[in-house]
């Protein structure tokens, strides 16, 4: 194929490509049926990961346990209220030595590791300390556990 034929053809292709890209993106018929999302979410709900269950109250008449994920959610909610903080992955562990045995609520220790992103320009030490206090008080108030160690790692910045 001669060069003088190829160039206009490629230009034409580039134009058709742009059109296809824009049209497909806006074409309402080029979306999967809603049943696809429904079944994906059904599987996700059925297989939802709650993590392990941490005992928060034990007695002869039964006990109360809270899932790691429930505590994680609590921590996200707490962090969301602080400006300039986006709470990301979170790990909750029982602190060593407090595993078993009956005990009143409010005495079990847990440790929390939380990764966060902060808005650029955030005062990191101050924000991290506020967040730590907030997490400790929320965990005490909501689930009666004592967050003995709260490790916060700033992994990212986000633009505001």
């Amino acid at each position: 194929m001669a060069l003088d034929e190829t160039i206009p053809r490629l230009a034409k292709l580039a134009e058709a490509t742009r059109t296809l890209r824009d049209n497909d993106a806006e074409d309402a018929s080029l979306q999967p049926h809603h049943a696809v999302k429904d079944s994906v979410m059904k599987v996700a709900r059925a297989e939802v990961r709650r993590g392990s269950l941490l005992p928060v109250y034990q007695a002869d008449q039964g006990g109360i346990r809270i899932s790691e994920q429930a505590i994680t959610t609590l921590i996200w909610f707490g962090a969301d209220a602080l400006p300039g903080v986006r709470a990301r992955r979170c790990r909750v562990h029982p602190a060593p030595g407090t595993a078993d045995g009956p005990r009143p609520a409010g005495t079990a220790d847990i440790s929390v590791s939380l990764r966060i992103a902060v808005a650029s320009g955030t005062n990191i030490p101050r924000t991290a300390e506020l967040l730590r206090q907030r997490i400790i008080s929320m965990i005490t108030a909501h689930v009666g556990l004592n967050a003995k160690a709260v490790n916060i790692t700033v992994e990212d910045f986000y633009d505001v």
Partner: protein, 144 residues
Amino acid sequence: MSDHPLEARLISHRLIADLAARTALDTRGVLRLEPTLKGLLTHLRTGTIQNLRRTDTRTTSARHDGVFVTVHNGIADVQLDIATDIAFAALEVAHAVREQIARTISHTGLIPGRIDISVLAIEHAPTAPDPLSATPSAWNRHDL
């Protein structure tokens, strides 16, 4: 009143499971019962897991979504998995549920045994300010 063995036998584990579920859902701060994976599988593959459990155990048991009840010698044990509202302290909600279920069981003439509550999720309530309307919707939602 709870001393009549005949009366106790009239109360099935299924009824206790139903009562426990209703009692939990009527407690402030409870969003819904949480179906576990095991519960869902029981639902999906009708019978197989349930049948296994029935042949395995001599006591009668029933699992609704999120509630498991065992009745033996007039004593009812309950295990309940719930999701609670972030606006309430999960621990207090769980205590309230335990107390209420124990009371409800003793009204049936059975003796409340171990009542174990697991808070599997803490969430924002769906925007329904009327607490009365929250109960039936919570029922529907886990009734896959």
